[in-house]
Amino acid sequence: MHEWALAEAVVSAVSRIADNEGFKEVVEVKLKIGELQQVEAEIIEFALAQLRTEKMANTKFTISTEKAQFKCRNCGNTWLFQHKEFADEVSEAIHFIPEVAHTYVRCPRCGSPDFDILGGRGIYIESVVGVGKDV
C-alpha cells in the first residue's frame, strides 16, 4: 500500500514544520486528500498512528477529501472525475500517479487530453497547530 509512503512523507514534513516553529507538541494536523488519487483515509490514519513521533503522540489528524476537478485547456469545459467510469487497472494507475489521468481521461465535450487538474490530486498539509514554543 503506497498510503504508507504518503503517511511517511506527512510525518516527515510535520516533524520539520514542528522543528522550524519550535513546537514541543503538535496538537492538530489538517490533511487534504485528493479524490483523484483514491487514497484510503483509513489506511493513512492507521499508518500515521504507527509512524507518529514523540511530538505527535497526542496529535489529532483531521483528513478531508477534495473533489477531483478538471478543466479542459482546449475548450474551457470543467468537469468532475468519476472513478466508476474507468476500469480497475486505470483507477489503480491513477491512484499511484495521478498525472497518468492524461493518458486515460478525455474532455467529455471535445475529447482533448489537454486539461488542468484543478483540484483533487495528492495529499496536502493544510495546517499544523502546535504548543509550547521552545525558548
Partner: protein, 267 residues
C-alpha cells in the same frame, strides 16, 4: 497548503550512493541508449544499480532493455522490479506504454510523486535517463536531487553542440556537478566537441563512433552488450569514471576539479 512529498525525497534517496543523470539538451543523441547500457554495464560489474526513466512523454529505456512483463510491488511504497539485475522504474508501468501528454506542472507533480513513493533501498548507483531540453526535468532534478551528477551526451552535430552548450551553461550556473561529456555518433576526425568542452572547463570523457548495427540490438540486452557502442562506452567508463576505490566499490569523480575528486576519495 504544504506538499509533504518534497520532504520525503531525500529520505527515499538516502541509501543511494550516487545519482548519474544522463542528459543532453538535444534529442536523438543516444541518451536512453547510454543510460540503459551504463546501467547494464555497472550491474554486470556487480554494482547495485537502479534505472529511472524520466522521459515521461517519450520513454525508451524499456524498449531498449526489452522490458515487457515487469511490474513494481507495493509495500509501504513502490518497490521497483529487478530486470537484468537493474532495479527499473518507469512511468510505462502506469500508462501501459500509451501517451502521457504532460505540461510542465504535470511533469513536476509526476516526478515528485515517483520520487516520494519509490523505495530504491540500497543502491551504489541510480542512473536517470532524461528527456531532451533544459526545462522542467533538468530544473526539477537540480532542485530535488542534491546528489545528482550530470553525464552529458553530445554529438559532432553543430546543432546538438549548440544545445549542449546551453545545458552546460545551466549546470554551471546552478553549480550542478558535471561528470563529463561523451561524444556519441562520431563519424569523422573533428575535435570540435572536445575542444569546446575544454574551453568551457568540462571534462571530455571520450568519443563513441557511429554504430550502424545498434538498431538490431534494441530490445535484446545480450546483443546490446556486445555492440561496438557498448564496448566503446565500457572503455570510457573504465578509464574515466572508475577513478578511485572506496570500500572496494568504484567511485565517480563528482566533477572535474581535483579538489572535489580528492574529497570523494576520502569521504
Amino acid at each position: 497548503m504544504y506538499d509533504p512529498r518534497v520532504q520525503v525525497i531525500d529520505e527515499r534517496l538516502a541509501e543511494v550512493r550516487d545519482i548519474l543523470i544522463v542528459s543532453s539538451a538535444k534529442g536523438g543523441v543516444g541518451k536512453s541508449l547510454t543510460a540503459s547500457t551504463l546501467a547494464l554495464l555497472f550491474a554486470r560489474q556487480g554494482l547495485k544499480v537502479g534505472l529511472l526513466d524520466l522521459d515521461f512523454t517519450s520513454p525508451a529505456t524499456h524498449v531498449i532493455l526489452g522490458i515487457k512483463e515487469a511490474h513494481p510491488v507495493e509495500e509501504r511504497g513502490i518497490i521497483p522490479p529487478k530486470v537484468h539485475e537493474i532495479k527499473y522504474m518507469s512511468l510505462v508501468y502506469y500508462t501501459g506504454d500509451h501517451m502521457a501528454p504532460f505540461r510542465g506542472a504535470d511533469f513536476s507533480n509526476c516526478l515528485m510523486e515517483i520520487l516520494a513513493v519509490t523505495k530504491w533501498g540500497e543502491l551504489d548507483l541510480l542512473v536517470i535517463d532524461m528527456p531532451p531540453g533544459i526545462g522542467d526535468a533538468t530544473l526539477d532534478v537540480i532542485r530535488f536531487m542534491k546528489k545528482a551528477r550530470f553525464l552529458v551526451i553530445a554529438t559532432p552535430s553543430i546543432l546538438a553542440l549548440s544545445a549542449v552548450l546551453k545545458l552546460i551553461e545551466l549546470l554551471q550556473t546552478t553549480r550542478a556537478p558535471i561528470v563529463g561529456v561523451i561524444e556519441n555518433m562520431k563519424t569523422g576526425k573533428s575535435k570540435t566537441v572536445e575542444e569546446q568542452m575544454r574551453r568551457h572547463g568540462v571534462t571530455f570523457l571520450g568519443s563513441i563512433y557511429y554504430d550502424n548495427e545498434i538498431e538490431k540490438s534494441i530490445g535484446d540486452v545480450h546483443k546490446l552488450i556486445k555492440t561496438r557502442f557498448a564496448k566503446s562506452l565500457k572503455r570510457i567508463i573504465s578509464r574515466k569514471l572508475f577513478r578511485c576505490e572506496d570500500r572496494g566499490k568504484p567511485m565517480f569523480p563528482p566533477n572535474s576539479t581535483a579538489e572535489h575528486f580528492h574529497h570523494s576519495c576520502h569521504h
